[in-house]
């Protein structure tokens, strides 16, 4: 009898522990190498990404170990699981003051996995490349 009770109690505890373990996936700083391995990039956001309001993020670009400044970048993105794009049209531009690319107008409409694409439109044809970054939105 007591054996059964113990089993039941243990099962209950197990379930409640499992429930407690679902931890937040906090994506604030994400690194990614470009498709043709020309660039290393870092996306750095002020807060963990969330839905509903504008997100404030910076973007850093390196080629080998050198900072790549003031090149043209086009940004796009979407949610692969849902076949839809970003709800806004964000802009990314070089900030001479901060020596970093600043992203403005970025928003997410749903929680889950999103892909952000950065098309590096460098003046040298050989330096054109694409960066695809997976981010998690809470």
């Amino acid at each position: 009898m007591y054996k059964i009770i113990t089993i039941i109690l243990l099962t209950c505890c197990g379930f409640s522990l499992m429930a407690l373990q679902g931890k937040d996936n906090i994506d604030k700083k994400i690194q990614q190498v470009s498709k043709n391995s020309i660039y290393q990039s870092t996306l750095d956001c002020k807060h963990p990404l969330s839905t509903g309001s504008f997100q404030y993020c910076n973007f850093k670009l390196h080629k080998k170990d050198n900072l790549v400044k003031n090149t043209q970048i086009f940004m796009s993105g979407g949610m692969p699981g849902h076949d839809h794009g970003l709800p806004t049209l964000p802009q990314i531009s070089w900030s001479e003051n901060e020596q970093i690319y600043v992203i403005k107008g970025l928003k997410f409409s749903m929680p889950g996995k999103w892909i952000l694409n950065f098309k590096i439109n460098a003046s040298e044809v050989a330096d054109k490349d694409m960066i695809s970054m997976a981010v998690t939105v809470n």
Partner: protein, 394 residues
Amino acid sequence: MSKSVITLVLIIFSVFTNAQNWSDKEISTLQKFSLKALKPSVDTSNKYHDNQQAIAFGKALFFDKRLSSDGKISCSSCHDDKYAFTDNRKLAFGTRQGFRNTSTLLNVGSQDWFFADGAKDSLWSQALSSIENPAEQNFTRTELLHLIFEDVNYRNVYQRIVKKELTKEEIENLPEKAGPNSSLENLIAWKKLDKEQRQQINTVFTNAGKAIAAYVATIKSSESRFDNFVDELADKKTSTLLNDSEQRGLKLFMSKESGCANCHSGPLFSNKTFHDISTGIPGKDNGRSEVIESIIRDEFNCLGKYSDAKPEECDELKYINRDKHQLTGSYKTSTLRNIIDTAPYMHDGRFETLYEVINHYLEKSQEKPKKNDLTPIELNKEQQLDLVNFLLTL
């Protein structure tokens, strides 16, 4: 002895296996949906947003039937507080039949875009479009100006709000009826005015719109059974303010299985943006994609000269999604608050009941090839009942 142990174990067991057990993480997610999480409405494009005199003036205009070509229609004709500020009709009927279902105004001050397709970016530019819309109030800009000038109460309160006098010379030479969105005759009268006159008329017109908007932004819902439930849950970790079926419905609503909370999120139960859920009518009503150009060109938008906002306060407009292909058939995610009072449903009022709405989701989410923003949703009869029971607590 062993009997009481078994009872105890059974009690513990029932607590653990009960579907209505809420984890701390779930509770903190639910709190993001509570009315308490709703941020106060701000509109930097409207300098009278919090002005008490403007709110009172706007309220008077909202209920004033003289603001229509036939003297029979005011905002309140369609936005009736008896029906959560809707009209309970399938399609609105003003000076003539419209083509959209009337939206609730409860909590509308917290939206970013107005109308089902978000054709307007502020409450005041929205109000102006209703006044001029030939199917709604069909009123012209100069008629409104004359009305405000000739009604001494209106004139006085208007002058106190804008701190500038409306002079007889300004008004007297203006045609009785003139406006750019009206009949050909009234349009010609409008074109005949010089630029300065048109701007002066637009200033009074937009100020009246801003007063109406200031009032509309005060229209809010009170806490629902759902909100009270979340409060008690946060406090005691358990609550019976929603019954079992309603709580199961809530769990389902929040789950990946239904996907509802992907779009119907936050205190309004809306992510305030545009999605294609296969409600568009190709060739007739494509929703968001049809209004992007006109929003950008709108003289009454956030970046226009009648707006009180600084350009950096117009991010929604500046970063507007221009991808018409992606936006075809998209509409603003409806708020689900007060849903019990806002039937019929969808932008064209096509569904009488929430069961029909859910059926739509079950059907359209399975369609192949996939044409909308929905992931496959499958719910049995009991789950559908739970979901509807939950929605009715909002």
